[in-house]
């Protein structure tokens, strides 16, 4: 069966043993039965009778198994029988049976959704159970069955909160999930500025709150709904759980429900998840990133935990780098230095991915804390002379971002970059530098390097890669445009008379375009010579300088026109037409010299910021689609004040400390009732007696169970 080999043929032979007296045989048969019942519903039904008998066995463990098996058999016909069995189980003496009943509820619902009303009834009984390990599965069943029926939760709310610390980890997870949702829906949130400097959010429903007596001094104390406070305080011991999922759940609870003081306490345990095995560490890091993006401050002192190790796999170091950059603005001076030098170290590494990410991380650091931007820039500038083309181009992209954020103070930086243009061979890097020069072409028109750079670049135009050529053409367009813009007073009066600048394009270009390719080439050669000849005499007159720029521009157009790339040819034609007529110069101005938006390199996980902490969607990320994975739901918004359910609903009528005697008597009553209602007609009086006698036996373990916990 476990090897996916056919074992169905033995079905009848195996199932015959269902009535076997031996417990161990029964166990295996039950497992087999649950596995195969769906394929052989008729034969499986034959076993139901025997299982039903076991439901009334004197051994609670047998009853547990029978209940579990019966609900596990996926044959819809028996849904009513299962429902009755659950009802019996809910009233059972042994908490283990009650637990099994709780676990059976979702299975029964899956079998036949029509049983929902009955099952909800059972659930409300089980949610109020006094045994902590019954409540956990009951909450899980509730979440499965009817997570929106919060009315059922009002009454057991306080007992749930009280039992939170004692439940097993899985129960804690379910309960935390439920109560986080519940709190959002039932405790309205009101923000009020208590002091002008510190706006404090506090939760308050003063009209209905009977317990909250301290509303009188609310201008000083942050008043959380006492019931919510109860939950938050009950979560605290869970932070020392060994189960990472519990810790993340508590963090979620604090993050979405509580004031920042609470979350600060939870950060340490969250960071401690970095000790867990790598698979869980990965998930924990996702959550850490998500929390740190909201509130980075408390994480700052744990920076050392996020240093990247040489043997971290890519998915781990990627997240670690991200955490480091998020924390960077909040660290002390010492740690800032450490982070930067760490990033510098990794940017010199050999893994191209790691290099790229760490250079980007440096950029994000500089962006996050402008006071260190200079330091970052210096490091990046140091790297552009590296032999590693990948590193150079990545560094330049980041440098470009940094320069764009503060263009005025970076003129000298651009100059330095231009010096590197001669040695840089990486096309991306060259393109970036050329683009930057174009951006700075309009600054200080009298003393600008852009035309000169353009002149030098054009010489090697044919040997450049396409991306660089595009940038050269763009640079030419910008230079020419600036040239046009600076000289309008000259041009305008001259415009009617066909002279120089306005005239030349109209006159010469048609010629050029009309010429065949050979002539064009000749022209090009000619103008190259002219061009170089002119440029070799830097002491040219003022008018000639202007002339030169026009010539330069035309030469570029010519070069681009005969390029092999249609994209480049298109671009050249676009710029040409744009700049040809004086009327469209304004348009060109808008197009080419529009102020560029300051680039903002977001953290890679920026898109995940609003996803629910601890969810699988957070881990899968954008891949999961716009709405997240199926079934993903974010927390509901805070309930509008005034619409919350009356808090008096949460008042617990049951006595806080039920002694074992009262438990047994009430449970006994329940058993009687269950028997009378459901089974009276079918069960004999003799069996009822047997049940009673069994209940007496059961008293022992319940009591001892209490004692065992009591020492705790």
């Amino acid at each position: 069966m476990y090897r996916s080999e056919p074992s169905l043929t033995f079905f009848s032979a195996v199932v015959k043993n269902v009535a076997s007296a031996s417990l161990e045989v029964k166990k295996l048969v039950y497992i087999y039965l649950v596995h195969h019942a769906e394929a052989e519903p008729d034969l499986a039904l034959l076993s139901i009778n025997a299982i039903q008998k076991s439901l009334t066995d004197s051994n609670p463990q047998v009853r547990v198994m029978a209940l579990r098996t019966m609900s596990g058999i996926r044959v819809p016909v028996i849904s009513q029988i299962v429902s009755l069995a659950i009802k019996r189980g809910c009233g059972d003496m042994s908490p283990h049976v009650r637990k099994a009943a709780a676990l059976a509820i979702p299975k029964c619902y899956r079998l036949d959704p029509n049983t929902l009303p009955q099952l909800t009834g059972y659930l409300s009984t089980l949610l109020g159970d006094s045994q902590y390990f019954v409540v956990g599965p009951a909450v899980a069943a509730f979440l499965d069955l009817c997570p929106d029926e919060l009315d059922l939760i009002h009454k057991p709310y306080r007992s749930l909160v009280k039992k939170l610390a004692d439940m097993d980890e899985w129960g804690q997870l379910a309960t935390l999930r439920l109560l986080t949702f519940y709190a959002r829906k039932c405790f309205p949130r009101r923000t009020q500025k208590v002091k002008p400097s510190a706006p404090v959010a506090f939760y308050d429903d003063e009209k209905n709150e009977q317990e909250s007596q301290d509303t009188g001094e609310e201008y000083e104390v942050q008043v959380t709904d006492p019931d919510l406070e109860l939950l938050l305080r009950a979560c605290k011991p869970l932070l020392q759980s060994r189960n990472s999922a519990v810790i993340v759940s508590v963090v979620r609870c604090y993050l979405y429900l509580a004031s920042p003081d609470y979350i600060a306490e939870a950060v340490g345990p969250l960071v401690a998840l970095m000790r867990t095995p790598q698979d869980m560490q990965h998930i924990a890091l996702f959550n850490i990133v998500a929390v740190a993006m909201r509130i980075p401050k408390p994480f700052a002192k744990y920076t050392a935990h996020f240093l990247v190790h040489a043997n971290d796999p890519p998915h781990i170091w990627r997240l670690k780098l991200e955490v480091l950059t998020i924390l960077f603005p909040h660290c002390g001076k010492h740690w800032k230095g450490v982070i930067i030098s760490e990033l510098e170290h990794f940017s010199k590494g050999t893994d191209p991915e790691l290099v790229r990410e760490s250079v980007r991380a440096i950029g994000r650091c500089a962006q996050g804390d402008t006071s260190t931007a200079d330091m970052c820039l210096r490091i990046l500038l140091g790297q552009i002379s590296s032999l590693d083309g990948n590193l150079v181009s990545e560094s330049l992209t980041v440098i470009r971002h940094l320069i764009q954020q503060d263009p005025t103070s970076h003129k000298s930086t651009v100059l330095q970059l231009v010096k590197n243009l001669g040695t840089t061979t990486h096309p991306d890097a060259r393109a970036t530098i050329i683009w930057l020069i174009g951006e700075f072409a309009g600054v200080e028109p009298e003393n600008n390097i852009a035309p000169d750079v353009l002149r030098i670049l054009i010489k090697g135009f044919a040997d450049e890669t396409e991306i660089v050529k595009q940038q050269i053409v763009l640079l030419g367009a910008k230079v020419y445009l600036h040239h046009l813009l600076q000289n309008p007073p000259k041009e305008k009066p001259e415009a009617p008379a066909p002279t120089e600048t306005a005239e030349k394009p109209t006159k010469e270009y048609p010629n050029e375009w009309a010429d065949n390719a050979d002539e064009g080439q000749e022209n090009a050669d000619q103008s190259t010579k002219e061009n170089e000849g002119e440029l070799e005499q830097p002491e040219a007159k003022e008018e000639e300088t202007e002339d030169r720029i026009t010539l330069l521009w035309r030469y570029i157009l010519l070069l681009a026109r005969y390029d092999t790339s249609y994209d480049l040819r298109d671009r050249a034609r676009l710029y040409k037409n744009l700049l040809e007529t004086p009327s469209s110069v304004q348009l060109a101005n808008l197009l080419l010299l529009a102020p560029k938006p300051v680039p903002h390199a977001p953290s890679p996980s920026e898109t995940r910021k609003d996803l629910l902490i601890g969810s699988a969607t957070l881990v899968v990320g954008p891949e999961a689609g716009y709405l997240g994975l199926p079934g993903y739901s974010n927390l509901p918004d805070w309930v509008v004040p005034g619409q919350e359910p009356n808090p008096s609903l949460r008042i617990d009528e049951t006595k806080p400390d039920i002694s074992s005697t009262t438990t047994t008597s009430t449970a006994g009553d329940r058993l009687d009732r269950a028997l009378l209602n459901g089974y009276a007609e079918s069960q004999s009086q003799q069996r009822l007696d047997r049940c009673r006698s069994r209940w007496k036996e059961d008293t022992g373990p319940v009591a001892s169970g209490r004692r065992g916990r009591g020492g705790h």
Binding site: S7, V29, P630
Partner: protein
């Protein structure tokens, strides 16, 4: 709500070993495995396959070379960590029943036990019993279980049964199987007789042992990052207290630890301890209130071996000393240090790894061991652990003095390195493995004297495209310097001053181009692994382990359990030096 839909286990060759479906109709393992294998090698533990119908999130862990899968289809199961924790618990439970390490053959030979474990640990996908020890109450491990069933079905149990036992008699069903069932020998009681289940959720009921024993193992794993200058950037010791309890009845234990002088002046003892042991996590059995108020661990343990507590220690202390300088190893008290010098040789493609031994580290360790003896002696019968308990323990260094072992240095090299032409270790063995692209250097502990050791490597880059310098192939003419640090003092245990080798290697000049070229081939870090028995980096000590006879039940007044304590510090590539 989150539901576990199925558990699939694959062996090391990715053959399906087991599939257990809890609920729903999850994608079968035959579909998931190829999709999983499509992803590149370091795979994320959570993978999303939108192409499947229904789209599936696959959770996976790898333990003991076995691959555990749990698919979750259709819904956002809420907590990925829950599923991963669950898979880890399944692995733990299997280990508890089948013995460690988990082997494919053990699982294949014990399907009856495995089936019960999986059925009990979660019910229709809702995890309901995560405690491996408590599972002992409900899982039958008697030798004849399956035989019994097979007999009833009318099939011969020991003969080969093609369908049901899935592979014939070779699996060793029943008594003929060579596998011992752990637990059945220790406990005189068949577990399932305890009809009501255990009163303490993590401890099985009616524990009986003929010899009562308690063992505390404190294991600390180092994670240290050193800057090229030798200054520690971060130094943590991740500790865990593994407790082994083999005591009858329901014992109530009190474990007190002491900090060994650290954190003094932090108020009373509990505060000191808490300032050293940070971010603790506990097994649910620990009473948190007593830890908070007194700083002691008071608990009723599960039976057998379990992880009592996890903690971490910041070895640098709260305020990082900015001027720690190069005596980092001594300030951390590490038993060995490593340094890497790159860009040596005539064309700069040599590098040198130097293992050093700061001398004062042993002192603290032996002191800890000594005081341990005196402290626990009063508590009742401390002795060295029976060597059969753990095979490795037979060596030296249990309580007499810490001993260093398994010293390994790994130097990962860039992928562009084509070959390492020369490996010249002064001690130990070194080899280069092209597959994972790193040089591994093992030094036997007995060889690793106070002198330290040096490894010199020459690396060869890719066949140069420009061809002129012949791919920077190095002839063997590089001046190799075997620098033994003669100024390093004395033995490991002897506590004296820390050494610092000052002999800077004379770096040849006028080879900038080659050096710059080979700089890209140089390693950027090196990691050091070792294990030290009898010493803890944090200096923690077990002060006493008391068994509260009043609160405990089922244990005679006169019974004094045998107690043992073991300290171990390991670094699994945990010490990393940047260069």
């Amino acid at each position: 709500m989150s539901a576990i839909e199925a558990v699939y286990i694959f062996d090391e060759h990715n053959n399906l070993l087991l599939s257990h479906t809890y609920t729903g109709r999850p994608s079968p393992p035959s579909v998931l495995l190829p999709l999983y294998l499509q992803h590149a090698a370091p795979r994320s533990s959570v993978l999303y396959f939108p192409s499947l119908n229904p789209s599936t999130v696959l959770y996976s862990i790898i333990q003991d070379n076995l691959l555990f899968f749990s698919p979750s289809s259709g819904t956002d199961s809420g907590e990925p960590l829950l599923v991963l924790e669950f898979l880890h618990r399944v692995a733990d439970a299997l280990e508890e029943f089948l013995g460690s390490p988990l082997l494919a053959s053990k699982i294949a030979g014990n399907y009856d036990v495995v089936a019960q474990i999986l059925a009990e640990i979660a019910d229709a996908g809702v995890v309901c019993q995560g405690e491996a020890n408590a599972l002992r109450d409900v899982v039958e491990t008697g030798p004849g279980v399956l035989n019994n069933l097979l007999g009833k079905v009318g099939l011969p149990g020991n003969a080969s049964v093609p369908g049901l036992s899935g592979g014939g008699g070779s699996l060793g069903i029943g008594g003929s199987g060579g596998l011992q069932r752990p637990g059945s020998g220790i406990s005189s009681l068949q577990p399932a007789q305890t009809a009501q289940g255990s009163a303490i959720p993590w401890r099985r009921s009616n524990v009986r042992h003929t010899s009562n024993e308690l063992y505390v193992d404190i294991v600390e794993t180092l994670s240290v990052t050193l800057a090229p200058s030798g200054r520690p950037l971060a130094a943590f010791a991740y500790g865990s207290i593994a407790f082994t309890s083999k005591v009858s009845g329901v014992p109530d234990l009190l474990l007190s630890l002491s900090t060994g002088g650290k954190g003094a002046g932090m108020g009373h003892r509990g505060d000191q301890l808490r300032s050293v042991m940070e971010r603790t996590v506990f097994h649910p059995c620990v009473r948190l209130a007593r830890w908070k108020s007194e700083g002691v661990l008071s608990f009723v343990p599960p039976d057998g071996r379990f992880a009592l507590c996890g903690y971490e220690v910041d070895l640098l202390g709260a305020d990082t000393p900015l001027t720690a300088g190069k005596n980092a190893y001594s300030s951390l008290g590490l038993p060995a240090g490593v340094e890497v010098t790159t860009g040596l040789g005539s064309s700069g493609n040599d590098f040198e790894v130097r293992l050093t031994q700061p001398s004062n580290s042993g002192a603290a360790g032996s002191a800890a061991a000594a005081s341990l003896q005196s402290n626990l002696g009063g508590g009742g019968g401390l002795g060295s652990r029976p060597s059969s308990f753990r095979a490795g323990a037979a060596g030296s260094g249990d309580s007499k003095g810490p001993s260093l072992e398994n010293l390994v240095v790994r130097v990962p090299l860039p992928t562009t390195v084509r070959n390492v032409t020369e490996l010249r270790p002064s001690k130990g063995e070194a080899h280069w493995s092209p597959v994972d692209g790193c040089v591994e250097w093992k030094v036997a502990a007995k060889d690793f004297g106070p002198m330290g050791a040096v490894l010199r490597c020459t690396i060869q880059g890719p066949l140069a495209a420009d061809g002129d310098d012949a791919g920077a192939v190095l002839n063997g003419l590089t001046a190799t310097t075997y620098d033994y640090n003669d100024d390093e003092p004395s033995a490991y245990q002897a506590g004296e001053k820390d050494e610092k080798h000052s002999n800077g290697l004379s770096v040849p000049v006028s080879r900038e181009a080659k050096v710059a070229k080979s700089r890209e081939l140089m390693p950027t870090s090196a990691t050091l692994s070792f294990g030290v028995k009898g010493w803890l980096a944090s200096g923690l000590k077990v002060e006493s382990l008391l068994l509260d006879n009043k609160k405990s039940r089922g244990l005679g007044q006169e019974v004094k359990p045998y107690k043992g304590v073991k300290y171990l510090t390991v670094s699994r590539e945990g010490i990393e030096v940047r260069c």
